[in-house]
Symmetry: C2
Subunit: 655 residues, 2 copies
């Protein structure tokens, strides 16, 4: 290269400050501060090919400090990705530009993960690094041999999830994970000293990481640190000492550069200080050529890899997994037929385990785990061995008491590809990992959340552990399918649907308590419709009772009492709102007719059920917190029994 | 004392294993493992008086490992608290027993915090320790001079929130916070080695803590460690090396003792191993007497303190604050009158700041803060100085990028008493602190969450930062009042309501963008009703438009267009669902009449609005994720403008 690294980095700086200025919105400080280090990474180390952004053996790069999105947009453009174009960058933060405020992997092929919520990108990268090692252990060095790189800021490190991510990565010895920390000593509120006194490297040392510091503005020093990180078998944190907004002579080193445009005068001053003479959005030809050359490094490497893939005995299987195609299998169908032949009264968490036994045997890319509730979530199957630092081929991860870290890692595994992750905790602790669930939904990752102990039916652990608002609060999240199966058959159906959904997350809410098998036929997957008539009225229909999960049994008991009183009653099992909402108006009207009293029963908040029972319907549920007692006593206490509910329906019908 | 400490501890062990056995449910391992250390703490160090559980200057003790609830129930009973009685303990985990599965402060006066969700108790204790130092700085050693103690398990330390709590406590130098870590090397899934390789003490060292280890079964060694902790000016972590289920000869040291009854045989074997001859729920007289003596230590200390309080110049003010009575003040009312005289078009986050200027001046117990978004949340007022390790008298906390830690600390401050905490972040990051918000709601703490950037109206930051499902997901949480004010007047009203609510949390969802002042009169606090008619139809009423926050302006624009077409339309501003639901049926029917087309407009999920507009109503909102663009472009893109909405209403009305 004949162009000095500083000039390459200045191209990033100029694009960043100019795009933010044009948008009159954005974050110039981070891209300008980390331009030197990122230039070293992208020109000398990162393995990628802009012509094949999804090349399976590329290095993964995650900009965890997502607010500095102009950094990655600049790098992708300069290294030769088809998008973003310069026109895209000129449209930074405008409607329909792929250069959104924060990097979004559904907008740009070169963006590996949607970031912005602090700490999440880092924790997602841990999952990518797990997937890499797991697939390496399965398919060997010829097919899988890459690194995961992260640029993170102080916010990423201060967030709680960082502790979980660091602990998990250190424990699993993920030596191919290398984090460049933008150690600029500035947060939005001002100096880091305002809110933190932590010895960051000491903390990482204590968690089994390799740590090293460098001058983030000295390319040789950055390279020295990266070389040391690569050489060390532990995951690495590189503290890149930087000046936020580097190059802006009057504002650099202050929080003023963090989240606001520099302003026209300061942009001009920065041009002068950096010796950058080009007009906004113009890159001198020699610098553009040097960047393009750096971007072309990967093509021959990829060509060699393609040859190895073509010759590899497991090549087709590897490709299948990376493309996210399930193997042809009848595991779910056969399992359901066995249930119909031999009905089971089990908790749906146990039914889930039974389904998983069949599914994990048939689908080798399924990697399970639990946040330290393996025996309660019933997430581990006999075929699964632990995935450990000594043996990455295992398909079960003991995530520890790290719900959020688990969920973020699962996103990373799904984004990496080749793995279908699922993981368990109690439904009430969906709150702990909610930000990662949201990122599953936003990025449409194929992740399955196994959330057991889904109501007061868990009993004695009491209100801190009993979900009330959780089902509803998750149902309102876009793109997330929330399933609450009523029995073993529905549980198997919902598992099948969750795995088939390649373009988004699913969440299974499962009971702790035993439930009778209410389904006696299964010619088709009825859960796929979201809701269906489980039992038709025998007398003239005057009521339709809608329930989910453990309350379907209660609804059947209610219907029995109503029918005994001459009132015809349908029972509708509704395992999944979002799927029901996607059915035709005709089907929905057939299941929930307009002219009949409709009743909902669910052991959770009643707010929201007006959607199906209307303002004139009856809603049975729990609108306060739970209590500590055996489950049957709680159902009675909260009035969720056939004996308590049936008379109220009869009264509403004037009987 | 003539009774050996081991025998005192064995009383705790026996009660714990017997209660769990009787309930056939619960966690014996932790109480049995930590009985020795807890006995040292409660008999020699903890400052408390069972006759006055709410004595203001008592030490605070938080059982962060709340699953070991029998530990605290045993200790409270043995030291002489009125509750739990032995009958309560016999009814452990049964309906209506105050001895719930996890410790609940609303069930027992001696329980300082509701715990169970791992890590939360620890982080709550940090807030208690902050409140203690703040009040000490305000009222002096004579009135405020106590410690905060925590017993925590591996789960508490592994959770992400621990990092935030540890960072905050270390930064603020909370030397009166002492944590006893039950270092038993066991989690639910098995050995800690399964999921963690962390050097825990090293991590705490790196965060500015004092760390020390001891043999958790040697009372003298525990006392030595506690003495060292007291002597050190930093917050302390004491690693108590223990055996889980200590005393159960065949199961101790294994995860089998964690969350299940020991079983009759093992209970009998433990009795033999411990030399405990008494029948279940019987305590030998000498041991009971020794415990009672230990419990009586505090009475004379309290008597001295009561004398000092009575003589103290600030005694009345201190008592007022500790009792949670607001000072008599007209700050909110005067501020609202000023707004009516001089209407303001400002963002409601700015309106909140303006209200806070008046309120913080009038209410000295208000302590504000933000999770590193001070200038965006507008949470700091001119009167507030930073609360720092060098000056605890400050009333503003730079919480750092620690939303969850902030929320948990606010719970701790509110539980401590004498402080009314409020803190800010972006509404989308309510997800990060949701478990703590739930504990605010469950414990009914007076905490005010200031959540700004409450919709797509934040603009360019895009979907990762734009709340969609958040308002609804928070509204379904019991006991939480979610406010979304429409203008500066409503913002002031909602602030007044939030502060007046002594028995629970409030959350303010505030706009980034400017909003016109739509209220022209304020003889009463109309937000108190949750919803009210802001504008009455002038033509014959055929439509009622309900909206909240920034969409009220849009609703007014829609109504204008409808009226221009001869369609009478009410506009209802609905800042708070829960308050509206608490109104009389007559009021609700008056505001939302049955026989008129009802329309909701809110820049978030439409799921749930059927509650007010019915199945025949129209719901305008956003049921997918947002996008990155300037706010006006987004409102247009998502069809949330008067020009887009009015024609749809006209069409629905057949016009």
């Amino acid at each position: 290269m004949t162009v000095a690294p500083k000039q390459l980095a200045n191209a990033v700086r100029a694009l960043s400050m100019d795009a933010v200025q044009a948008a009159n919105s954005g974050h110039p400080g981070m891209p300008m501060g980390m331009a030197d280090a990122a230039t070293v990474l992208f020109t000398q180390y990162l393995k990628f090919d802009p012509q094949a952004p999804k090349w399976a053996d590329r290095d993964r790069f995650v900009l965890s400090a997502g607010h500095g999105s102009m950094l990655i947009y600049s790098l992708l453009h300069l290294t030769g990705y088809a998008r973003p174009t310069m026109a895209d960058i000129r449209n930074f933060r405008q409607l329909h530009s792929p250069c959104a405020g924060h990097p979004e992997n559904f907008e740009l092929a070169g963006v590996e993960a949607t970031t912005g919520p602090l700490g999440s990108g880092f924790a997602t990268a841990v999952g990518m690094a797990i997937a890499e090692r797991h697939l390496n252990a399965t398919f060997g060095d010829d097919l899988v041999d890459h690194r995961t790189w992260v640029i993170a800021g102080d916010g990423c490190l201060m967030e709680g999830i960082n502790h979980e991510a660091v602990g998990l990565a250190g424990h699993l010895g993920l030596g191919r994970l290398i984090v460049l920390w933008d150690d600029n000593r500035i947060t939005i509120d001002g100096s880091v000293d305002l809110s933190s006194s932590e010895n960051v490297l000491g903390r990482y040392d204590a968690s089994g990481w390799h740590t090293i510091a460098c001058d983030g503005h000295d390319p040789a020093d950055v390279a020295r640190a990266i070389d040391a990180a690569i050489a060390d078998p532990r995951p690495s944190l590189i503290a890149c000492r930087t000046v936020i907004g580097y190059g802006a002579p009057n504002k650099q080193g202050t929080s003023a550069t963090h989240g606001s445009p520099l302003g026209g005068d300061e942009v001009a001053a920065a041009r002068a200080a950096l010796g950058w003479d080009s007009a906004p959005f113009e890159i001198p030809a020699d610098i553009a050529a040097a960047w393009a050359e750096a971007g072309a490094r990967g093509a021959p490497v990829r060509a060699e890899w393609e040859k190895r893939l073509a010759a590899h005995a497991q090549g087709a299987e590897f490709t299948r997994r990376m493309e996210g195609r399930l193997p042809v299998n009848a595991a779910a169908a056969e399992h359901i037929q066995a249930l119909l032949a031999n009905p089971q009264k089990v908790a749906t968490r146990k039914a889930s385990e039974n389904a998983l036994e069949a599914l994990t045997a048939a689908i080798p890319e399924m990697v399970g785990g639990s946040a330290d509730l393996t025996g309660s979530n019933n997430t581990k199957t006999k075929i699964q061995q632990p995935l450990t630092a000594k043996d990455y081929s295992g398909r079960y991860i003991y995530y520890g008491i790290r719900e959020f870290g688990m969920a973020a890692a699962m996103n990373g595994m799904a984004l990496h590809g080749g793995v279908i992750p699922y993981g368990g905790t109690f439904l009430v602790f969906s709150d702990y990992c909610r930000p990662a669930i949201r990122l599953s939904a936003l990025q449409r990752t194929r992740v399955v959340y196994v959330m057991t102990h889904d109501s007061i039916g868990l009993g004695e652990d009491g209100p801190t552990h009993q979900p009330i608002e959780h089902l509803m609060s998750l149902r309102v999240m876009p793109n997330l399918d929330v399933y609450r199966p009523a029995d073993a058959v529905e549980t198997a159906e919902c598992w099948a649907l969750s795995l088939e959904k390649a373009d988004g997350p699913s969440l299974l809410a499962l009971s702790r308590q035993n439930l009778p098998q209410v389904r006696t036929g299964a010619d088709e997957n009825l859960s796929a419709k979201g809701a269906y008539r489980l039992r038709g009225a025998t007398a003239a229909r005057k009521a339709v009772i809608v329930a989910s999960g453990s309350e379907v049994e209660i609804a059947l008991g209610v219907a029995e009492r109503l029918e005994a009183a001459g009132i015809g009653a349908d029972v509708v099992s509704m395992p999944c709102w979002s799927r029901f909402d996607a059915q035709t108006p005709e089907y929905r009207a057939e299941i929930l007719p307009a002219d009949v009293l409709k009743i909902s029963i669910e052991a959770g908040t009643t707010i929201g059920w007006e959607r199906y029972v209307g303002l004139d319907g009856l809603r049975f549920g729990i609108d306060g917190f739970g209590a500590s007692a055996p489950a049957p006593a709680l159902y009675e206490y909260f009035g969720l029994t056939p004996d308590a509910i049936a008379p109220k329906i009869l009264a509403a019908l004037g009987n």
